[in-house]
Symmetry: C2
Subunit: 233 residues, 2 copies
Amino acid sequence: MGRSVDCGQRMIAPRDRYRRPIPVLTQLTVREYTARLASGEPTPGGGSGAGLVAALGAALGEMVANFTVGKEKYRDAWEHVAPVLAQLTAHRDRLLDLTDRDADAYAQVGAAYGMAKDTDEQKAARAEAIQEALKAAASVPLGVCEEVAAALELLPVLLLHGNPNLVSDVGVAAELGEAAFRCAWLNVEINFASIKDEAYKARMRKHLEDLMALAENTAVAVWDETVRRVRGA
Amino acid sequence: MGRSVDCGQRMIAPRDRYRRPIPVLTQLTVREYTARLASGEPTPGGGSGAGLVAALGAALGEMVANFTVGKEKYRDAWEHVAPVLAQLTAHRDRLLDLTDRDADAYAQVGAAYGMAKDTDEQKAARAEAIQEALKAAASVPLGVCEEVAAALELLPVLLLHGNPNLVSDVGVAAELGEAAFRCAWLNVEINFASIKDEAYKARMRKHLEDLMALAENTAVAVWDETVRRVRGA
């Protein structure tokens, strides 16, 4: 293992480190994943963790839907809840894919920093590769933000039509979604610190600001209504 | 599988359901765990998810510590960060144990609800067993709250002495800790809805209120300082 390179985030070791295969993170056991997250390995990091937390939030929404659809007592709710279930499952799948992709994207940044920089041409090629890799890396937490914002919009349907015995799980889904959004947003920003394309950054920041307003409003409303119901139970 | 019994939370099937072995949740792969969380199985639920999110937060704090201790550049920080690393690892281990225990505790509640209730004596024994099982089930998210509150208190040391390249991971750790606390708290409250011992509930609520004030103050302070540094980078 060679000298570490500072890319403005975790310390990244040069290329040779990334010749080692990266495990598919979501195929690790829960204990293995958390141990690797805790370790001095550069991946997974906070971006992958944010994707996983978002997936857990979507899964809790699905659980509420699964305790509604197919239960005779809630037959009138099925037509409202079944489409939400299908959409949340799709969000969870994509969020777990992003959880895995974060490590690859991060490895690409490390590889770009490890490129030769002896001649002016090499330096220019390396600088361009770094910028491309940083944008690709930022696209992962950006994707988490987009998935979470869309998943959160489905939760009010579960408050209206879902099995009321699982109301606390709707609140937990909202809370985890909001936290995952904020964590992913911070991971976009830390990537932006090293990205030089100001127009790209301004465009993405506006996009994220709109998504965050939507996500936070929905999450807070769902959480508050959940707490009201749990306390009134 | 028999008729489901409503215990004020998820619908719980009678005893026979719990004769099936429950897998050790943290030994499932990340994909398997999230799929089971999403499913119509009664466990894991929101309480287990809260324990896992708290463990992910602790793990991210450990990652920051692991990129500090042993790195020559940060030698002066080692004496401050090494004890934090050891404590966060202990918190993570206990949080993952709680993530597993949530399913067992929940199964005990289901088993108590499934007890015979033909005679008055059986009814009394069943009612007592249900109350005991609900208290045991509440102790799991209560334990998550205690572990998270203690873990959050360690994060300011990482902001002061940790590798500054990983500052965003300290912020993510704080955000996940805060969200996990709130989710665990909600799971305590949903259990309380069925617990009749008012003195016990009042004592626990006061304890949780104190912990929450501490946890939220620390999490918000760490998050705000992280955002300030990331934006200033």
